[in-house]
Amino acid sequence: MSDIQITPPESGAEIERHEEHAVDRFDNPGLPPHIHRAADDDPEAGKRAEKQVATLFGLSMLATLVFLVAYFAIPDESTFYLPGVGLSKTQNVVLGLSMGFALLFIGIGAVHWAKTLMSDEEIVEERHPQRSDDRSRAAAVTTVLDGGANAQLGRRPLILYSLTGALGLFALPFVLQIVGSLGPVNAPEELKETIWDPADNDGKPIRLMRDPEMTPIKLSDVTNGSVFHVMPETLQKYIDAGHGVLEAKAKAAVILIRLEPDLIRVQKEKDWGVDGVVAYSKICTHVGCAVGLYEQTTHHLLCPCHQSTFDLPDDCNVIFGPAKRPLPQLKITVDDAGYLVAPQGFLEPVGPSFWERSR
């Protein structure tokens, strides 16, 4: 052993010092004298307290009665103006207040009873050390050792090992059962797809539709500074089928805005738009809220969740907030009928990052 040891300063001579200095601590003076309350000595005060408690319990019964009547008497749709709160549902307010007071008066009554009439003289209970005494501890060890010896665990290692193995493995089927069936395992591929892929539309360009009306948008409808919330025309299939709608929308949401073409500072952004009309994914690249607050004056798109701010004229690069990547742009053109269409899907995954995103 090394001779390092941690000691409280002046570790020697503990006993003597204890003896010597114990006198220089104050002594616990013991419980202070008990002070009588009015109701302890004065029968009148006791009587008064009794009446007060009974009144409180009585008020509780009254409040319950109000609840019972109000439950039947107040029509569902009635409302009234509650000062300081606003227009409120009468039923909710009356039922809540009467229930609240019924409970509260029971509580206040009980506490008042305890404080005025029950003994307020403090009682002392002993504590004992938490640990068992040495004999019991030794007995416990003996019991376990004897049991182990009886089962011959030490002498027959084969049983020990095989039991450990069996116990170690038996839970696996349950875990596998759950994990195996929780969800599909094609996540990395699916996360990269949206229904803007022309493959979803027999290879034809996909029209941009107003969300939620699902009507196509003409280039001329998009006036300067106006903002459109857009879904692909392919969404209609899901709406008609009645399922998969929200899953499709969760990745396909797009925002369409017309800028002055000279404002746009990135050539790709100009090329992928039409006369300053540009379309970007509306799903925040941070954790996926819908980025829908557009500031007309600064041309910023703002996410309401954690305030990531995307600079629209600069290809939606992040200029503030916790998101890292720009919103992906959707290339748009105009079809023969004059409607806006997307000739190719998104070229990169939309929405929040995931491990396999760049693969």
Binding site: V111, G183, N186, K249, G288, F320, K324
Partner: protein
């Protein structure tokens, strides 16, 4: 007011603690149902023992009770809600009595929550009680936790209960999040969407885990039923189980008490369960329930009909989670985007992962291990049943306030957009400020708290040595004015002088005989450093001889009952310098309690 019994020294009280119950003449035989039960269970003995259990009284001990009661209230009202709530994401056309949404396609979950609010009589009230109860539950759990922390109630033998409590507070937050998501409205749906983003940010397995949780692509149809079984079955079962163990430990350990005359480390002074504590605690349940019902009657909470059903494309301005998840949201707002990077084509979302998935386990682990760290540093292996007054453990108080400061900065950061609007500040500046505060706030808070605690301790010393200010000013013939100080009675004094003020541990030797540094030395050096950090600044509690000296020092008036307050500087020997301070007192205590 008259006084009965004489001053009862604690030692004498202990002597009187009877081992065997004396038979009393006025008692009755156990009969009726209780007798029938005892015949079959033998429960009379433990029951009467339990009914006589003593609970100490202090307002701060009610915080845990509030937590317990609001949990019970949530359980009761939650059962009510399950009768009508439908945990399904099947799309249906709403045709209930809330006119603005009639004809809109919504999920079963949303539509049934609307029905509870508008078509089930009293349903809205129960929903609001459930939600208010949940909020008060989480608040009271946290406040209860700080009480336990600052008073050192987590020390031996209560470490296990501290860990259980830590677990409970984490489960409470998760339970709340699961419940908040159930109505499937726009706001809570946005919360689930963000949760999906968090999960996707987990390195390597994130995308798979997301698909497992949602049963496929977000949002799918599985998440609400799954959250439902977590919210009403899994977590309540675990919560109730852990809570029961928590309470059982309180009974086994007996409640701690604040120091005071007659209270020692070996007794509990308070009121018996039957009848005083029963009436007070039982009454308090009704008070908590009553107040929650009153609040729910007038203050509307989570009016989901105003938010609309969940749909991934509309935007929700100012979306915020319930307050107890705010700190995680704040952390996400402060983490800068440049922390995301790619290696070998794989994406590390370090702007998301630490603030969302890692934050909770890290925070709760740090809280959970604190008692073990402290007891390692102090080397204190004794049982502690007397609470510390927070000022008497300045470093611990400082650590606690520093932690709360970090938490609060994150919580406020989650409202940076609202603050920017209300205060007309730029959100960029605010965010930068919060980032700065997150790092410099806690150290400042630590330092301030510790200083304040030490000053309070000095003030206590002054009070003991020179008496309490009476507000009476004396004028002497020579024109001097002086305030008269009244000496403290032994009862008043005791709480101010009973504590220990340990000194830092010191290493007595760092190398063996050959001058080789011992491998143990490094660990122990760390420990000595930490001990120094904990205990170097200390104010020793006054001793009788110091009081004696102070008496002789001042001019005594009125036969020593009133001391003139002559304020002398505290002798440095008794405050800072460890070499000359009396250390023995601590050992004396150690001897007494082991």
């Amino acid at each position: 007011m008259s006084t009965i019994n004489e001053t009862r020294p604690a030692e004498a009280l202990r002597d009187g603690d009877p081992d065997v119950e004396q038979e009393r003449a006025d008692t009755k035989p156990l009969g009726g149902i209780a007798g029938w039960l005892d015949d079959r269970t033998g429960g009379a003995k433990p029951a009467s023992h339990f009914l006589k259990k003593v609970f100490p009284d202090h307002w701060s001990f009610m915080l845990g009770e509030i937590a317990m009661y609001s949990m019970i209230i949530c359980l009761l009202t939650g059962v009510f809600l399950t009768f009508w709530y439908v945990p399904s994401m099947t799309q249906v056309v709403y045709n209930g009595s809330y006119v603005p949404l009639q004809g809109v396609t919504v999920s079963d979950a949303y539509s049934s929550t609307l029905n509870i609010s508008f078509d089930i009589r009293g349903g809205l009230l129960i929903r609001q009680i459930h939600h208010w109860g949940a909020l008060i539950f989480v608040v009271s759990v946290f406040v209860h936790m700080t009480r336990v922390f600052f008073t050192g109630a987590f020390r031996k033998p209560r470490e296990i209960n501290w860990v259980l409590g830590t677990l409970l507070s984490m489960l409470a937050c998760i339970e709340g999040f699961a419940g908040y998501s159930l109505p499937d409205d726009l706001l809570s749906g946005t919360g689930i969407r963000a949760m999906n983003g968090f999960v996707q940010s987990i390195p390597i397995v994130g995308s798979y885990v997301s698909y497992f949780i949602f049963g496929g692509a977000f949002p799918g149809e599985a998440i609400i039923p799954r959250l439902y079984s977590v919210h009403v079955l899994l977590l309540p079962a675990v919560l109730v189980g852990v809570f029961t163990a928590h309470i059982l430990f309180v009974v086994i350990h007996k409640h701690t008490q604040f120091p005071g005359p007659g209270r020692t480390n070996n007794n509990v002074v308070g009121f018996p369960l039957m009848p005083v504590y029963m009436a007070k605690a039982g009454g308090f349940f009704f008070i908590v329930f009553g107040i929650i019902a009153l609040v729910s009657a007038v203050v509307s909470i989570n009016p989901i009909w105003g938010y609309g059903p969940y749909d991934p494309s509309p935007i929700t301005a100012g979306s915020q989670p319930d307050w107890y998840m705010g700190f995680a949201d704040g952390a996400l707002r402060l983490l800068p985007g440049f922390l995301e990077f790619d290696t070998f084509g794989f994406t590390w979302s370090m702007n998301i992962f630490p603030g969302s998935i890692l934050l909770l386990p890290i925070m709760w682990t740090v809280i959970g291990v604190y008692p073990f760290v402290e007891s390692w540093v102090t080397g204190d292996k004794r049982e502690h049943h007397l609470l510390d007054r927070p000022r008497n453990a300045p470093t611990r108080a400082g650590i606690g306030v520093a932690g709360i400061t970090a938490y609060t900065v994150l919580l406020f950061a989650s409202g940076n957009d609202l603050m920017a609007i209300k205060l007309h500040l730029s959100i960029n500046d605010l965010t930068q400020l919060f980032r700065l505060l997150f790092f410099i706030g806690p150290p400042i808070a630590f330092w301030l708290t510790k200083r304040i605690c030490l000053s309070l301790q000095r003030a206590d010393r002054q009070k003991v040595l020179h008496g309490r200010e009476t507000g009476t000013i004396w004028r002497y013939p020579d024109g001097r004015f002086e305030e008269i100080h009244a000496p403290l009675s032994p009862f008043e004094r005791w709480a101010l002088v009973q504590h220990e003020s340990p000194e830092p541990l010191r290493i007595s030797a760092e190398a063996d005989e050959n001058g080789v540094a011992s491998p143990l030395a490094r660990k122990e050096r760390v420990r000595a450093k930490l001990s120094h950090f904990y205990f170097n600044d200390r104010v020793a509690p006054p001793t009788p001889s110091e009081l004696e000296a102070a008496h002789h020092h001042g001019d005594e008036v009125d036969e020593g009952h009133l001391l003139t307050g002559e304020h002398e500087a505290i002798d440095p020997a008794t405050t800072g310098d460890s070499s000359s301070t009396p250390r023995e007192t601590i050992k004396a205590d150690r001897k007494r309690s082991t």
